[in-house]
């Protein structure tokens, strides 16, 4: 029996299963940290504990710093879609629906999800690495020894900034996306701007705009919460900072795709 156990423990199957279980354990632990920190943020908000100076700085980071990359990504995505779809639709007699299609696509999906991806790669990664560096250089220990809550000082302003600033960023990016789509459709298929903008409102309702803003706020808060949590749990040195940043980006990507699916089922199914 002993030799069987020894043989089994050296087998590839055992090692793969062990690796999977360890991965699952780590994932559950990360998820637990995110949930606990999320409750911590809500508790601080109910108690009115927020560092306003830090909040304004983080709003600038989320809103202003991220704007060029977000606008570029949403705008270019719109150009890519319009350049492939507009001519074909005009050829098939559906030119009157190009504006509707692109606007619906941008308002419901592209604007918010591509902005989310841009925010994750630019802001989420920087939040995670910043907080992870603070962790490994004992700055977070110093905050705790000074009897200041790291949740209040680090998490609340960042999560709030994500919640508040992501909707305007998505709104501006969506406008830029629609305009880029109109220009591209005109250049690619000769579709008039009037035809594009007339069809824009045929199938886009206030509900779509409301869901878009709600989704943006949720994504902003979730990206900030995941990034802060991954950075906060970092350990070791430079390697730990790198791992925390990677984890933050991967978890944020997965989280917003899952959330997007939930929103789609809840509001449009």
């Amino acid at each position: 029996m002993g030799s069987f156990q020894k043989y089994y423990r050296q087998s590839a199957t055992y090692k793969i299963c062990l690796g999977l279980l360890e991965g699952l354990e780590k994932s559950l632990s990360t998820f637990g940290d995110i949930v606990i920190n999320g409750f911590g943020v809500i508790k601080c908000l109910f108690k009115g504990e927020i560092s306003w100076k830090e909040f304004i700085e983080q709003c600038n980071r989320f809103g202003i710093t991220s704007l060029p990359i977000t606008l570029s990504i949403v705008g270019m995505t719109s150009v890519i879609v319009a350049s492939q779809v507009a001519l074909e639709m005009v050829k098939q007699g559906g030119g009157n629906f190009v504006g509707l299609l692109l606007t619906m696509l941008i308002v419901r999906e592209v604007g918010v999800i591509m902005s989310g991806f841009a925010i994750i790669s630019m802001i989420g990664s920087s939040l995670a690495s910043e907080i992870a560096t603070m962790r490994v250089t004992e700055q977070i220990d110093a905050i705790e020894v000074l009897k200041v809550s790291p949740i209040k000082y680090l998490f609340v302003p960042r999560v709030m900034a994500g919640l508040v600033m992501m909707p305007p960023v998505v709104a501006v990016a969506s406008v830029v996306g629609v305009l880029a789509g109109a220009v591209t459709s005109n250049l690619a298929s000769g579709l008039s701007y009037r035809a594009f903008f007339d069809s824009m409102w045929l199938g886009v309702y206030m509900k779509d705009l409301g869901v878009c803003m709600l989704k943006a706020a949720t994504f902003g808060a979730v990206i900030a919460l995941i990034s802060c949590s991954c950075g906060y749990a970092a350990s070791g040195g430079a390697k730990g900072v790198g791992e925390a940043t990677t984890k933050a980006v991967v978890w944020s990507f997965v989280a917003i795709v899952i959330l997007d699916m939930i929103f789609a089922i809840a509001f449009f199914f």
């Binding site: 004992e138 000074l146 009897k147 200041v148």
Partner: protein, 241 residues
């Protein structure tokens, strides 16, 4: 009595890093904790200030703040010197309500003057030398008027002159604040110039307790090996050290 530690035990991964350690530090007294790297010195500080939780034993401290000066200063690199020092005054509710912004600026200036760095309020930590960063971290630690100050290797990585300066400030802060202080260090000059008493740790246990003078007499085989920096003696470096 300002700090009393009784039968403290802390284990990491089945290894007892702190094993039944007890000591007392009175107000206005400085205790030096010495020992090998990895002997649990910094762990004791982290247990006292609440960054780690103990497995068993007691840590009794008098009411009031516990301040800690970290080995690598741990200044907030996104804040300038003034904001670093004023951090607790601005972020802790009870202190924020107690002081106006004008008073906070005055306190920051006073604390900087106390550590000999007047006029550097607007500089960022990255613009300061290691010794200056350490002194700013002293100023940040004492801004809340603590009755206990913990120093984690305050002179590590500094040149001998900067070390002497830091040691002078440790003595000066003790005289100004009358706080109970614990200094974790390897450096003999820091022990002899700042401490009233010394305890030595090996394998998580206290193997010597006495004054710096008694330590230098080398009556104890552990302190003899430490003072002479000899490889021969009862203390053997563990592989993971």
């Amino acid at each position: 009595m300002s700090i009393e530690v009784k039968h403290l035990v802390k284990t990491f991964d089945d290894r007892k890093v702190i094993d039944d350690v007890s000591f007392k530090v009175e107000d206005g007294e400085t205790l030096a904790i010495v020992g090998f790297s990895g002997s649990g010195k910094s762990t004791i500080l982290k247990l006292i200030c609440g960054l780690l939780t103990k497995d068993s034993g007691e840590i009794i401290t008098s009411d009031g703040d516990i301040a800690m000066v970290f080995q690598y200063s741990a200044l907030f690199d996104s804040l300038n010197v003034a904001d670093n020092i004023a951090f607790a005054l601005r972020e802790r509710k009870e202190l924020r309500n107690k002081y106006t912004e004008k008073e906070i600026r005055r306190i920051v200036s006073e604390k900087l003057e106390l550590v000999g760095l007047k006029g550097i309020e607007r500089k960022f930590p990255s613009e300061l030398s290691g010794g200056m960063q350490k002194r700013v971290s002293f100023a940040r630690a004492i801004v809340t008027e603590p009755n206990t100050i913990l120093y984690d290797e305050p002179t590590a990585g500094l040149d001998p002159i900067s070390s002497t300066l830091i040691e002078d400030y440790i003595v000066r802060l003790k005289e100004e604040t009358h706080a109970a202080s614990i200094v974790v260090t390897h450096q003999m000059s820091t022990i002899t110039r700042t401490a009233n008493r010394v305890i030595m740790l090996y394998n998580g246990k206290v193997v010597f307790e006495g004054t710096p003078e008694e330590m230098l007499k080398q009556d104890n085989e552990y302190t003899r090996q430490f003072v002479t920096a000899s490889l021969e003696g009862p203390m053997q470096m563990l592989a993971e050290n």
